[in-house]
Point group: C2
Chain length 361, copies 2
């Protein structure tokens, strides 16, 4: 049994209930550390696929599992967690669901005496794909993973779940269950809803109007492409927090409509709050927000050009913070937007220009 980052992975068998994308990926990540993983799923096909890619065994664990990981859809979380606590009276039970208060309430209501063995968690990782075929041991590498201990949880149980998170390669973010649900309502669920509202409006647009679509529209609407059935369950399970935020948004919206129909609209205060909001999002690596500047480069849209571009940027000693390939209607050429620190933007433009690229800030 190997260690990840100096932390021992869970000792004893781990049972993962649910072999979808996240459950199977947990199995793969733990198997990578030599953990004895067992899998359960009512869907025999999903289970067979997960077992075939070595995410764990479909046989029951030989002894009581040390840790049970519940990885089922949001609507079934509470019931399956309660059931696991009853079936395995010595095991620590966690889950990987996107909401944390509801399942804990169900545990407290239906299995109060066992609640000390339950510690919820939530990895901030996923994919537009789903199911065990999309699973991978690397899904959680470098991703935030919230562990939401409650006051009655055993310290040893919390430690067991934290060890699993670190063994999966994720970054541990401890918070309370209600803090978590409030946080994801604001940073994930509300943005998803507003993205869907923006995208829904496009359905009424004639095709010609959409020719003017730029990267901004793509950015705002991208997350709206997520699975409606899954998002229905997520939003339903976090309904009070999401509804409260939507009411705040509605107040802002009402004021905006009022201003827009007034003689002299005052929109700057709300727009300025938006600007401030973008500045409180932490930078990459959880560090402070760095001043990044975009540099634009025109490239032929064929294999090899990006490699040449990044080789030239690397030769210039400039570290690239982000990359975006921009929409380019009607031409077989791409416009690449490279984000670098403000301090190195001019250097990059100069270095790329010297190497024959059309680059500008």
């Amino acid at each position: 049994v190997s260690q990840v980052g100096g932390v021992a992975p869970p000792s004893g068998p781990v049972l993962v209930i649910g072999s979808g994308l996240v459950g199977t990926s947990v199995g793969l990540a733990l198997r990578r550390c030599g953990v004895d993983v067992h899998l359960e799923d009512l869907d025999r096909t999903a289970l067979r696929i997960a077992e075939s890619i070595d995410a764990g065994s479909s046989a029951p664990p030989p002894t009581e599992p040390a840790l049970v990981v519940v990885a089922v859809p949001p609507a079934q979380l509470g019931a399956v967690i309660v059931d696991a606590l009853r079936r395995w009276p010595g095991a620590v039970v966690t889950d990987v669901g996107s909401i944390k208060v509801g399942p804990l309430d169900q545990v407290r209501a239906a299995a109060a005496a066992d609640a000390h063995r339950y510690v919820g968690s939530h990895p901030m990782a996923g994919s537009e794909r789903s199911g065990p075929v999309a699973a991978t041991a690397e899904l959680f590498d470098g991703r935030a993973w919230a562990v939401t201990a409650h006051p009655d949880a055993d310290a040893a149980a919390v430690g067991q779940v934290e060890a699993m998170v670190l063994a999966c390669g994720a970054v541990l973010v401890p918070m309370t269950p209600s803090e978590h649900d409030t946080a994801v309502a604001r940073i994930s669920h509300l943005p998803h809803v507003l993205s869907a509202l923006a995208a829904a409006r496009l359905l009424d647009a004639p095709e010609t109007h959409l020719l003017l679509a730029g990267q901004g529209l793509r950015d705002v609407t991208r997350v709206a492409g997520g699975d409606p059935a899954l998002w229905q369950q997520i939003l339903e399970a976090n309904a009070p927090a999401v509804a409260a935020l939507l009411r705040e948004v509605r107040k802002d919206l009402d004021r905006l409509v009022e201003e827009l129909t007034a003689d002299r609209p005052h929109l700057v205060p709300l727009l300025a709050r938006g600007v401030e909001g973008t500045r409180v999002i932490p930078g990459k690596h959880g560090g402070p927000v760095r001043n990044v500047a975009p540099v634009f480069v025109v490239i032929p849209d064929r294999p090899g050009q990006l490699a040449r571009l990044f080789a030239d940027a690397g030769d210039a000693g400039v570290n690239i913070e982000d990359v975006r390939i921009d929409h380019d209607p009607g031409r077989p050429a791409g416009l690449v937007e490279i984000s670098v620190t403000e301090a190195s933007a001019d250097k990059l433009v100069f270095a790329l220009g010297e190497r024959g690229w059309v680059a500008h800030r």
Copy 2:
């Protein structure tokens, strides 16, 4: 005088009024084709900077200009266009403002006899930076540029403006002024407002909650970082269209809040409309939307690694549709999301794996 794409650039002097980012970039792009460009700006400093980077001469044109390009802030557009039509009775006048109906109405009201020489336009290009220092001859390369002819416009005037657009390297998108304003309300102004509403809510979040922020939040809120003073003018000038869309959004919002407070919320219909909406946005190069699949690759966050990655992807013969460098709290490693066609995703994962990368779908 050279030609771009077989189309002759404007013959005779071009006068650009306003030497901000867009006006100065128009000057640079036309100078690139050998056009005699003259510049005007009430701000002497901006004018001197624009002239110093060879965007045109600050001296008055030697003869009446063939074309006048008005590139002033939205609130001043109408008045400056009308003034230009009066000052130059033989010139074609265009503008590069983000709204088109209001200025045309002002031209019709104040200079009806000259309206046939006015043809509005709007390049879908910009930057988070502003002013002549940020200007570049390549700003419009491959970008959509709407030309909004009205029924009374001379065919020759429309041709002159279209020639300018093509000389600037942009892709011509013809539409009527009211079509344009309706289109940008939906694909640019509404998404901007919703992005600002999502970002504004982040100001109430404790710092710890923001640790869970992912790429989705970054995407939804990015455009909200734009200049509030400029956006105030844009939204004010297109107020009726934006307000109408916001009222539609409010209806959806009201239904959502109602559903979220009901016993059994039905959110799927609206979420599904959002998914459909993301699918009507045209693909890159204005072509049909292609099925792209994300491939994730773990890379050390230091210069040279991206170059190596793209070289290896290029060797595999896979064309990269888009790239995203993901947030990675607390670790000095990056997670790169590469978008490729569905058909080549497995091939890329395999090829990268063979070359020692940790890659997965």
